[in-house]
């Protein structure tokens, strides 16, 4: 057995990472305990007292809008005996009352009242020391709210690093996007990394895995069905960043995965806005606005920009993942188009999505096969385009040779390996000082 879980120099990973409960336990500490994790979008908790309950790794958290407009997040457990505090997914509340004994907390996490505390605790219960366990850091970019358990983590902006330049045109300069909830939810028998790595940079699978969806759905990608053609050189980009987030770009593919009938309307909307944006932000980034981006914000938050798909792959165990599927849509899209778009997102990539189910099959089988005693010791291959990774004078990040390549896989697992092999953020940061060289020098 090769000794390393992650072999950066050759772009390989040990298959065991998709099935080992021991590795999963380490990930909860070293990956989910340290990284910025997606929580919600401002559009879903607009008012004071609005909250959602979501997941950070295997923990449930309440994310709550405060009186001053800021946002806090807390573990969804009562400080008394650890019962689940809030069984709802979303709502508006001035506070949360535990169903067990009635301990009541404010939406700011303060323990406000304990039934009969004066009679029963003889004044020994200090409410100030029993606030809800608060998530250390909360920050947002373009309305997307993230939380982090580790006080020593870099800022969200630094953490996102080079991918921001690519996300800004669609998520911000377009006039902004919103998330439409509630999310679809389902449980798949896959390790959380299998969908995360697929979204971070796998344009290779589209023509083959989605052969039947391409043929029947009539999207703008349909000519790829059955691998009948390879997208031409220059059809797009693939990039990765220091902290593992990465993405692929398919030029001008604004209508994404949506079926033929909706595609025309979408292409017209995107083209009109691109024309306007050229004057405001220049032709290059206006083109990125109207291009299709697939990506993952490390570790488990994926998106397809123009297709409108926004995902959190929430780990439940080494071989079980809960999928949360929201719709991401430009705020200024006309309401009837927005509604048709929203339903089409769930039709393609929701719980009953006919594109999504093609993918999940692969992710489940990668996970299932990783349980094999011999198979788990073997190394997986993400070497496509390995000698072509480069620094570009204009494009941020490490840039791959072609839209179809595995540069973003390599960047994703480079950072994952650093996290798993480090005891602190200081150590992680030191290991990543020369991250670009590590990727560019990698070779078979």
């Amino acid at each position: 057995m090769e000794d390393k879980l992650i072999n950066i120099a050759q772009g390989k990973q040990r298959h065991e990472m998709h099935a080992s409960e021991a590795i999963f336990e380490q990930e909860m500490d070293k990956v989910f305990g340290r990284c910025w994790l997606f929580l919600t979008h401002e559009s879903l908790i607009p008012n004071f007292g609005d909250y959602v309950v979501t997941r950070m790794g295997t923990d449930e958290v309440i994310v709550s809008r405060q009186r001053d407009g800021s946002i806090k997040a807390f573990l969804n457990t009562c400080r008394h005996r650890g019962a689940q505090l809030c069984p709802n997914e979303a709502g508006n509340a001035r506070g949360f009352v535990c169903a067990y004994h009635g301990w009541a907390y404010g939406s700011n996490g303060d323990l406000q009242s304990v039934p009969f505390d004066e009679q029963l605790y003889d004044g020994l219960l200090d409410k100030c020391k029993n606030s809800l366990h608060e998530v250390a850091k909360i920050d947002s970019f373009y309305g997307f709210i993230y939380g982090c358990f580790d006080q020593d983590a870099p800022s969200l902006s630094d953490y996102l690093g080079d991918v921001k330049w690519y996300l800004e045109p669609y998520m911000d300069l377009s006039g902004g996007v919103e998330l439409i909830g509630p999310p679809g939810r389902c449980l798949i028998a896959a390790n959380w990394k299998t969908p995360s790595e697929n979204f971070v940079g796998d344009a290779y699978h589209v023509g083959w895995t989605h052969s039947s969806a391409l043929r029947s759905g009539g999207s703008i990608f349909s000519p790829l069905a059955g691998n009948s053609v390879l997208p031409p050189e220059g059809a797009g980009l693939q990039i990765t960043s220091k902290h593992g987030s990465g993405l692929g770009v398919l030029w001008d593919a604004y209508a994404g995965v949506h079926d033929g009938e909706l595609a025309n309307e979408l292409m017209a909307f995107g083209l009109a806005k691109e024309q306007r944006l050229i004057k405001e932000i220049g032709a290059e980034r206006a083109r990125i606005y109207r291009s299709h981006l697939n990506g993952t914000i490390f570790p488990n938050n994926s998106f397809l920009t123009c297709s409108g798909i926004f995902k959190a792959w929430q780990p439940r165990s080494a071989n079980s993942t809960e999928v949360f599927s929201w719709v991401m849509v430009e705020k200024d899209m006309p309401s009837d188009l927005k509604e048709a778009f929203t339903k089409s997102v769930h039709r393609t990539f929701g719980v009953a999505g006919y594109w999504e189910s093609d993918d999940n099959d692969n992710m489940e089988s990668e996970t299932y096969m990783a349980k094999g005693h011999q198979a788990k010791k073997k190394m997986l291959n993400s070497q496509m385009g390995i000698s072509g990774d480069r620094i570009d004078p204009v494009l941020p990040g490490v840039v791959g040779k072609s839209a179809i390549g595995e540069t973003s896989y390599r960047g994703y697992y480079r950072f994952y390996g650093d996290l798993m092999n480090s005891d602190s953020w200081a150590e992680v940061s030191a290991k990543g000082d020369n991250w670009q060289d590590q990727l560019i020098k990698a070779t078979v």
Binding site: N47, D50, A90, G91, C186, I188, S357, D358
Partner: protein, 196 residues
């Protein structure tokens, strides 16, 4: 004892169920009931046999609306949070159902080979008249068990509220609409690539 009073507010989430009750006021005749029962069993057989194209042709109306929602879990007394609480897992017309059927039957649909096997149980059938003498509201429960590859067995269960329209074709009726609010919030069966 504390003298604090607790105000119990009327739960709002029951409203949707109460609205539906109006549809179930006037039972249809025995003759209609049996014709509808035969129709639903035929549909179940076509779907279990994966005869999806025949299902579209003989059972589904061209102006169909096929809806499966999933409802977010909220407090019974929630009053202030007014963002939508439902996500449409399906909201399909005939063309969109046809895309799904062709996706499933495509020879390069890798997940359909080897075939999944379905067995469904349609029960609790009730048939009601509507304002239109040609149309009936039908409430039924459906339990679908899917067997897949060697080890996977998934269960899907729901209450269906259908509108059927009398039809001169081979099935006696056509499915004009089907509305399902799926009971399981987090779908445990991997995906909902099934017709319920």
């Amino acid at each position: 004892m504390s003298e604090k009073t607790v105000k119990i507010k009327e739960p709002l989430v029951t409203k949707r169920a109460q609205d539906l009750q109006a549809l179930f006021a006037q039972p249809a005749s025995e003759e209609t009931y049996h014709a509808v029962e035969k129709f639903l069993y035929k549909e179940a057989r076509l779907l279990d046999s994966k005869m999806f194209r025949t299902w579209l042709q003989d059972v589904v109306a061209e102006d169909v609306r096929y809806i499966v929602t999933s409802t977010e879990l909220r407090a019974n007394n929630e009053r202030r949070y007014d963002l939508p609480d439902q996500v449409y897992l399906f909201d399909d017309d005939f063309r969109q159902l046809s895309i799904r059927v062709e996706h499933d039957l495509d020879p390069q649909n890798w997940r359909s080979s080897p075939q999944e096997v379905y067995c469904r149980f349609v029960t609790n059938i009730e048939v009601f008249e509507t304002d239109d003498p040609q149309e009936f509201t039908v409430r039924s429960n459906c339990l679908l068990i899917r067997s897949r590859r060697s080890y996977q067995t998934d269960q899907f269960f729901c209450t269906r509220v259908d509108v059927l329209r009398q039809d001169a074709g081979p099935s006696g009726f056509k499915l004009k609409s089907r509305t399902i609010d799926y009971p399981e919030r987090c779908v445990s069966g991997h995906n909902m690539l099934v017709y319920l």
